[in-house]
Symmetry: C2
Amino acid sequence: MFAKLCRPVPSINFRTVTCFRKPRQLNKYYNIIARANCSASSSFLCDKNVIFVAGLGDIGLDTSRELLKRDLKNLVILDRVDKPELVCELKELNPKVKVTFMPYDVTVPLAESKKLLKKIFDKLKCVDILINGAGILDDHKIEATIAVNYTGLVNTTTAIMDFWDIRKGGPGGIICNIGSVTGFNAITQVPVYSGSKAAVVNFTRSLAKLAHITGVTAYTVNPGITRTSLVAKFNSWLDVEPDVAELLLEHPTQSTKECAASFVKAIEKNKNGGLWFLDQGTLENITWKKYWDPCI
Amino acid sequence: MFAKLCRPVPSINFRTVTCFRKPRQLNKYYNIIARANCSASSSFLCDKNVIFVAGLGDIGLDTSRELLKRDLKNLVILDRVDKPELVCELKELNPKVKVTFMPYDVTVPLAESKKLLKKIFDKLKCVDILINGAGILDDHKIEATIAVNYTGLVNTTTAIMDFWDIRKGGPGGIICNIGSVTGFNAITQVPVYSGSKAAVVNFTRSLAKLAHITGVTAYTVNPGITRTSLVAKFNSWLDVEPDVAELLLEHPTQSTKECAASFVKAIEKNKNGGLWFLDQGTLENITWKKYWDPCI
């Protein structure tokens, strides 16, 4: 039965998923097909419109560079701080791709996120993928860590549903959330950060399971320890371990370039519910343990 | 070796753990003994000073009633809204226990949480257990859900460390955080809530592992579906399932009384790092899957 569902059905285009407003079970059927149709293609990103929140960040920048090795149609980078020289560099990497920068702080109220997205949708007409990548790592800053890493990600996701939700006549879409291995098992010394990433992992797994209702699929990319400026020096909670960064970097890590390569591979695999573990240059889909089942 | 560490050592009193400011490894040794010394005793709660955040809530109230079957010294209930008739009822339950109510909204800034705790510590001199139980379940309210369920819990925990952290000369203490089974595996229809509870579970597991540094042990109690007013009717995220409450309640649940009995049993077991699953009147300690190891 599943094998049948997974057969490619070329006539189904994810962008025209609007027509899928049928009884739920049927939606599920069509969506599984649509996903299977899109996935695991090296040309998957060709001609796609991608919004990348924090696309100028440490992992973000190298991932933007990696994305630009593919012929996207548009790459819209949203970041808190403009870095014109980096945006210029990205624009020059692939003349086939239109790279745009717009300032965005994920901690703004939901209504402001919606306004910004409206501008983007008005301009591009359609958006295929949203990458939520804003994150901070500083356990001295409790509110900011949670507001950026979790609340901001939830708000940006919620905001784009206005444009994507098939129940509202939208075309569906794909959400790629940046979690962290600390969302699976914490770095004990940064419990606030690790907890915020556990929230992202759990939240995104739910989004994936709601895809048959919303038409929006979702997965997380969860980098292992990556040599970023974020990791080079950061505060532990209540300074429980002042040398946490140094200790962490004594163990095997990966470069941002290695991470970025796995990141874009994960995007190309386009697996709804994917729980991608990106560690030391490798990419693995994790199976989450089932502790209980709400049965609904 | 571990068996040796776990032998009861009657001369070690958890309240006098101040003297344990020794090299970390040694602290760990002494703390494990102290924990083992206290645990799994039916008289464990006798003469204890307990702060219970949200001790008048649905699960909170029945847990307060259950706690009052034991001869605590003080039960300080912190809750957003005073309910004088309930506080009166609790006061009358066990004349040996001094029950106090103080208003507390967990979303106040950290400094205010510290001020309130200072008042309590000034009055009681010592506090043995903090129960963090504030929670809301309404996925229409993204900011509030995260602020109450996760940020508020982290702030209250952080605030009490000023008084408990052995590095500051404190006596250590015990944190009991109310998580949820949705922190293990989500109720898909409330991804914001479920994510916030995953954060609590992950955060608390870290606290437990930091006990050898801070002197503060921690565990979560994670109720399964419990027939509370919270669960009777609640909003799903973007109304993905308007009947989520009804659907959930079609499956086996537990009463708040059953939950409260398991809750207090878990407190009495006093297991650092315990990940208690309280479902249908039973109590089970969950083993979390190890997906990776930061090695520090």
